[in-house]
């Protein structure tokens, strides 16, 4: 085990996989000569050369489509979006081509491609640069959606994504890139896609979260423990396929659930998880599932408004108390 930053764990995953398999290449804006906008790919140009670490113009639709074509023809591209906000100009390539070609060709083509980059809010970036995209992509059959919350998961899940023969939407977080954590040295360290992690075991209430907001959920859990409760925290890790069984098993035990989600609330991951909980374990619920999400507005710019916009720990803490009927 080594202590690595989140960005270093991602780099380790890509580097190890590219060393193992020379059909893998990295392409995106400033991934090569600038060493990556967030320095995820630092040093990779030097190691693998310009044929496998490729700078692109500002043309997401173009290089995404190029990646899909390359994947159809036997390569395994990693496409970096500087942030997922920029993926929207390439959305036809992702939703229609990457996601559906395997289905539409009757399995004649597979599309082993990873789209990765920073997702969600990262401070005062205003309305168009703070989008949490997971529900937009998770709604499309044919895409896998992965959202690690820590360096070790980032490495294990990115390696799994690169090795997967299907298109994977890999969601990182700008605010987590500098986070340090112990990361496995194993060159075949794979965390299977579609497996949630019980981050803290408890019996009083289940808190579900993923990505950056997972850390807020852990803070809420700490507060609950201080107040004498025993919360369970689940880090979804993969959005799709959703590991609903881990969630429902937890709810069977705790009978209550609060979901924290950085997405806007309407038709979001939290909506889906809440729906599936009531569908599967209705008779085990002692209180309604409560969601704590970003506000249902575009992200504001002002700091005070942005703080208010994000799913707050205080709101989540109060939601947990309500769910336990202790307010």
């Amino acid at each position: 085990m080594a202590v690595l930053q989140f960005r270093e764990a991602l780099r380790a995953a890509m580097t190890e996989e590219m060393e193992r398999d020379d059909t893998i290449f990295l392409m995106g804006e400033e991934v090569a000569q600038y060493n990556g906008a967030y320095k995820v790919s630092e040093g990779m140009l030097d190691q693998f050369g310009p044929e496998r670490v490729i700078d692109t113009p500002i043309s997401e639709s173009g290089f995404s489509g190029l990646g899909v074509g390359a994947a159809m023809n036997g390569l395994r591209p990693i496409i970096e979006f500087m942030t997922w906000n920029f993926s929207f100009v390439a959305i036809d390539q992702i939703l229609n081509n990457a996601a559906k070609i395997r289905y539409m060709s009757g399995g004649q083509f597979k599309v082993p491609i990873v789209f990765r980059g920073a997702n969600g809010a990262a401070g005062q970036l205003a309305a168009t640069h703070n989008t949490s995209v997971e529900s937009i992509y998770a709604t499309v059959p044919g895409l896998k959606v992965v959202a690690p919350s820590n360096p070790d998961d980032a490495k294990g899940l990115l390696k799994a994504s690169i090795r997967d023969d299907n298109p994977v939407v890999f969601l990182e977080s700008e605010v987590l890139y500098g986070m340090k954590g112990e990361v496995s040295d194993d060159k075949d360290y794979i965390i299977p896609i579609g497996k949630a992690r019980i981050a803290r075991e408890g019996k009083d209430i289940t808190i579900v979260a993923h990505g950056n907001v997972y850390w807020r959920a852990m803070n809420v859990a700490d507060r609950l423990v201080e107040a004498g409760y025993d919360p369970e925290v689940i880090d979804l890790r993969t959005i799709r396929p959703l590991d609903i069984n881990t969630v429902t098993e937890s709810v069977r035990k705790t009978n209550r659930c609060v979901i924290m989600d950085e997405s806007n609330p309407f038709a979001s991951i939290s909506s889906e998880v809440a729906y599936q909980i009531q569908e599967r374990v209705f008779d085990h619920l002692d209180s309604p599932v409560i969601r704590v999400t970003a506000k249902d507005t575009p992200a504001p710019f002002a700091k005070n408004l942005m703080d208010h916009y994000m799913p707050s720990e205080e709101d989540a803490y109060q939601a947990c108390l309500r769910a336990m009927y202790v307010t």
Partner: protein, 484 residues
């Protein structure tokens, strides 16, 4: 036009009701036929239905609050309407007069606003008439003023009702609106409970009606089921020895408390009243049941062939009593102090005490003298089954003229019962037992059954009671005479 919703009289013996759950929010739009609350009476938890459209402007009392008949529970009206004068009217003690005086109030405020205080309230003798009470209308002044919550409060004046429980004619029991309530649950909420609480209650056989919810708006949640203490009758045998806890030092007190249910209170009140007010005396007779035993065997062979309900000894006693009551009008009577009369009932309506989980209830075989044994058997079984399921309607257990109580199935040879007012008598029936009897100087095997008649001496004198028992004896000892 503000409409006061008053505590209706939901049973003969009801004097007050407890609002156990609100099913509508303040400010909510409601329509005629909506159930806005549940009211626990001495007999049952019943739905409070409204008969007008409008907005629920005010919930005057909270959940768990007890309100006398005629007391104000809620106010309906138009959105934003001023109800302060109406509330003032009730808070100054004029409420509850609707039933007695025929109009609700001559309160100054209401008059000043030249509003018509027209309440169409009539004394409610049967539950059906409560419609008038509930919909008694009062028009209040119309100044738009929002009443501060503090002045609305819980101004339920303590109306001392002149309604005497003696006018009720059945023993105190819990009644049985559950069936109708579960029907209503298809369309709206009733007992609020989390899915988990419902499942746990169902697994543990806990009646959700008897659980008090601690969640928002009285929602029953997991902890309410887990901390639920069932009524002692359910769990403890009647003659359970006193449990001593050995881990406690001598002299320390260990117990479980069960709050008095409305039913328990009603039993206590009415039976104490009966025992104190009506001087009881007791007549015991020992009947020869050999012919009745033989007749019953024959009857049941017939019944089996016709696929009819089997006839029990109790059915034979019911029929015998009913026939004997025809000839003994003093036993089929009521002593009515208020009215200054003894009332001889034309109908012979025999109530039969049925033990249920929460206490007991006395469903009635109406006109039992005119019914065949087969009818009595079928009807008794059907009523008892529904009684245990708490599905009886008030009219099915109110208004008997005579009552029987049978503990024979528990091996009780004889006992005395407390008269079920306003009956004049109650017959306590013991077990049919094998016993040696002397006949023509010889000891032979006999079948005997002891009965004890409790008589209200204000109506029934010793000789009258004895004549009635002689009549019953004649029918039971010669069952064919029931057919004549």
């Amino acid at each position: 036009m503000a409409i006061p919703i008053e505590m209706p009289k939901l049973s003969d013996t009801m004097e007050e009701g407890v609002v156990v759950a609100w099913l509508a929010e303040e400010g909510q739009k409601v329509s005629a036929g909506d159930i806005i609350a549940q009211v626990e009476t001495d007999k049952a938890t019943m739905d409070l239905e409204i008969y007008d459209d409008g907005f629920l402007l005010k919930r005057v009392v909270g959940e768990g609050d007890s309100v006398s008949i005629g007391g104000l529970i809620a106010v309906l009206g138009d959105e934003g309407e001023d109800i302060s004068s109406l509330l003032a009217e009730y808070s100054t003690g004029n409420n509850g007069s609707a039933r007695d005086s025929g109009h609700t109030s001559s309160d100054d405020q209401a008059d000043n606003k030249s509003s018509k205080a027209g309440a169409a309230g009539a004394p409610a003798a049967t539950p059906a008439e409560t419609v008038e009470e509930i919909s008694a209308l009062v028009q209040s002044g119309g100044e738009a003023k929002i009443l501060p919550p503090s002045s609305s409060g819980r101004n339920i004046s303590e109306k001392s009702t002149s309604e005497k429980s003696m006018s009720g004619r059945s023993m105190s029991e819990r009644s049985m609106s559950e069936r109708s309530m579960s029907e209503k649950s298809m369309s709206g909420s009733r007992v609020k409970a989390s899915p988990l609480a419902r499942r746990l209650a169902s697994e543990r056989g806990i009646d959700m009606e008897s659980v008090r919810g601690s969640g928002p708006e009285g929602r029953i949640v997991k902890r309410d089921i887990e901390s639920y203490v069932p009524a002692p009758m359910k769990t403890e045998p009647v003659f359970a020895p006193k449990r001593g806890r050995t881990d406690l030092p001598a002299g320390s007190d260990s117990y479980t408390s069960l709050p008095l249910s409305q039913m328990r209170k009603a039993i206590a009140r009415r039976l104490a009243e009966s025992k104190f007010k009506s001087p009881h005396f007791y007549l015991t007779a020992d009947f020869d049941m050999r012919k009745a035993v033989a007749a019953r065997i024959q009857l049941n062979e017939l019944a089996a062939r016709r696929e009819q309900q089997k006839v029990s000894f109790n059915d034979l006693v019911t029929k015998s009593c009913a026939l004997a009551l025809r000839d003994n009008k003093w036993v089929n009577a009521s002593y009515l102090e208020e009215e200054g009369e003894i009332r001889f009932h034309d109908n012979i309506d025999v109530a039969i005490a049925v033990a249920i989980d929460e206490g007991l209830i006395t469903p009635i075989i109406r006109n039992a003298d005119a019914k065949s044994l087969g009818q009595i058997a079928a009807e008794t079984r059907e009523l008892a089954a529904r009684a245990r399921k708490k599905e009886l309607q008030p009219e099915e257990y109110s208004g008997s003229t005579f009552t029987t109580s049978n503990l024979g199935m528990f091996g009780i040879d004889e006992f005395t019962a407390i008269i079920n007012p306003p009956n004049a008598c109650i017959l306590a029936i013991g077990a049919v037992r094998d016993t040696p009897v002397v006949e023509n100087g010889q000891v032979v095997a006999g079948k005997r059954m002891k009965v004890t008649l409790s008589c209200d001496h204000r109506v029934v004198d010793g000789a009258a009671g004895a004549r009635f028992l002689a009549s019953v004896r004649q029918y039971l000892e010669d069952p064919l005479s029931m057919l004549l």
